[in-house]
């Protein structure tokens, strides 16, 4: 989209495998849905585990949520290996979600 003024490079003309669309769809869903789950799990763990005042911990989780979401979402489009992207995003989401389920609502 943006123009590189220093080093013009020809667009890469690699062969496009037929499953390219599916791969991109997986990447997009991982970024959007998985990224949401990743961010939700991370900030919820912060909110749940941060010691001290409960409302404050909740507030920090809420405040930071979209920072994590935007960062992980962009990383999904940067990392070349889709397997690594999916494993990281969904792995953290599932593992963190399980941990939160075990922890339960703060007493």
């Amino acid at each position: 989209m943006f123009i590189d003024r220093q080093q013009p490079q020809p667009a890469p003309r690699t062969a496009r495998p037929p499953w390219r669309g599916t791969v991109m769809a997986v990447r997009c869903v991982t970024a959007l849905v998985g990224g949401y789950a990743f961010a939700a799990v991370v900030v919820t763990l912060i909110a749940r585990l941060l010691p001290g005042d409960r409302a404050e911990a909740t507030g920090w989780g809420l405040t930071l949520s979209f920072l994590f979401y935007a960062a992980i979402g962009l990383w999904c489009f940067h990392e070349r290996r889709l397997v690594r992207v999916a494993a990281t995003v969904w792995g953290v989401a599932v593992a963190g979600g399980g941990l939160l389920w075990l922890l339960g609502v703060r007493a």
Partner: protein, 512 residues
């Protein structure tokens, strides 16, 4: 994915901007207008003079009215007038056992408590609501607006990463160089106000974060309302006792709360009026501090004793309140408000130039434009040139629809969307460059007509408002003329000869 960090970020920047760009443009434009939400409402009700009473008087008169029409309601919400508003707004939460009757927002005269004798209108509320609900049913509009804001946040971060010469580009604007100029314009509008764009986008997401990201609350509280009670000191919603007790006069409660804060009150919530368990919660004006989550104090409605006060917020809760405050900018005085208005306009310019850049970068001299290019170009015209005309139609219809007509508030809203939608279709019949020029020219004419129509249909035309130093009305009319001038310049430029051919070097990179 396959390239360097900057190449990948440029790629995702393009997609994020393209997918969310049109809605973001509309959100930026209506959100920017919403900095003047009360002023727009006042312009759209020219019959009403400024409030001119204290908040305590307004609260008293509103409660007197509500006692007449809804003494058995579950809850009353009373939005008090301030220096920028002329009316008291009230909502009733009716008693489920009471016979149903039409209830909605009621606009009251702060002096008498009677429903206002002014034309029915959504006023500035319309743009404000559209800004985050996009005229869609709850909750879909808010989710879609949130998605667009998220894309905006991603586009800002990826744009900054893409952009390595951020300081040099600050001083670079090459006019009339075709694609080069659009890129420069995009960079200048984005870089110049980058802190503003980043802050307004993030704080916008935070205004609705409790809806978008409720999980941190769910992990810590059994019921979401418990969080609000802990964070903001709201008393637990008491049940009605069933035993009647007259509501104490609310004026002294408001006055006492204001003395305690040294700041005006903005809102009154009366729960179970005329019950022994009645509560009266008075909230501080959001403009009293950058933290818009103002303090509140709750009184027992039967005795007038203080039963709860909002706690001093901790750092996290205060941060959220400040983020909300930065977004809604209630604290801003006139100079800062106009500055924010102009910064908001740079946001619309950034999104608009980004969308234009997308088409300019893909146009091949001599080649027929492909379908996607034509689609994006037409959507660009429909939104960037069309929405201002729709907004002008909303204002003009306020003056042209008879003031006493029933249902006119909805007609005003319909005028905006029918005009906008109609224009989006009609422009398809024109060649793109003509459609751009004619769309902007129509907008320019519509905005230029506003002061004239106002002069002819009300007694508060520009000459008189200037003479009377009525800055709400004079400022509105002058702003309309300034916008008309801007759109006129845009029309003249858009109608000029074709742009210079795109250099081959930049073409390659824009595709990357």
């Amino acid at each position: 994915m396959t390239g360097s960090l900057r190449q990948n970020m440029a790629w995702i920047h393009g997609w994020l901007g393209l997918l969310a760009g049109w809605l973001l443009f509309a959100m930026f434009l209506t959100g920017t207008a919403s900095y003047f939400r009360p002023e727009i409402t006042r312009w759209m009700q020219p019959e009403l003079p400024a409030a001119g009473v204290t908040t305590a008087q307004a609260a008293t008169s509103a409660v007197a009215h509500l006692q007449r029409v809804g003494a058995d309601d579950v809850q009353w919400y009373i939005y008090l007038p301030d220096a920028r508003t002329a009316i008291t707004r009230v909502f009733e939460q009716p008693n489920p056992k009471a016979p149903p009757r039409p209830r909605g927002e009621l606009q009251l005269d702060p002096r008498t408590g009677d429903p206002v004798a002014a034309r029915e209108t959504r006023g500035g509320e319309h743009f404000y609501r559209f800004h985050f609900q996009l005229q869609l049913p709850y909750p879909w509009g808010r989710w879609l607006a949130g998605l667009c804001a998220l894309f905006m946040l991603g586009a800002i971060v990826s744009g900054v990463i893409t952009h390595k010469r951020i300081f040099a580009d600050f001083f670079t604007l090459r006019w009339n160089k075709g694609q080069r100029s659009w890129l420069d314009a995009h960079n200048v509008s984005a870089v110049l106000a980058l802190p503003y764009h980043a802050v307004i986008t993030y704080t916008g997401l935070i205004t609705l974060v409790v809806m978008y990201m409720p999980w941190p609350i769910a992990a810590n509280y059994a019921k979401p309302i418990d969080f609000a009670q802990a964070a903001y000191g709201l008393p637990a919603d008491a049940e009605a006792s069933g035993r009647r007790a007259p509501l104490v006069p609310v004026g002294p409660l408001v006055a006492a709360a204001e003395r305690g804060w040294g700041a005006p009150a903005t809102r009154l919530v009366v729960r179970h009026p005329n019950d022994r368990a009645a509560t009266v919660t008075v909230a501080r004006h959001a403009g009293a501090s950058i933290n818009a989550r103002g303090a509140s104090v709750t009184y027992a409605g039967a005795t007038g004793r203080v039963i709860a006060r909002s706690p001093d917020p901790g750092p996290a809760i205060a941060t959220m309140g400040v983020m909300l405050g930065l977004h809604i900018a209630q604290f801003a005085g006139p100079a800062l408000r106009w500055t924010l208005f102009l910064l908001g306009a740079t946001g619309a310019a950034m999104v608009g130039t980004g969308l234009l850049l997308w088409t300019t970068a893909r146009r091949r001299p001599g080649a027929a434009p492909f379908f996607g290019l034509r689609l994006v170009e037409r959507l660009n015209i429909a939104v960037v040139a069309g929405l201002p005309v729709g907004m002008a139609a909303f204002f003009l219809s306020n003056r042209l629809i008879p003031a006493g007509l029933a249902g006119r508030a909805d007609l005003e809203v319909q005028a905006m969307f029918w005009t906008w939608g109609g224009l989006a279709l009609v422009q398809l019949a024109r060649p793109p460059r003509r459609a751009w020029a004619e769309g902007f020219a129509l907008g320019g004419l519509a905005f230029a007509a506003m002061p004239l129509v106002n002069l002819l249909t009300t007694t508060r035309g520009l000459p008189r408002s200037l003479a009377a130093a009525d800055w709400t009305f004079a400022g509105f009319d002058l702003a309309m003329l300034a916008i008309a001038l801007l759109l006129g310049v845009a029309a003249a430029r858009a109608g000029r000869a074709p742009r210079l051919p795109v250099s081959r070097r930049s073409k390659v990179l824009v595709d990357a």
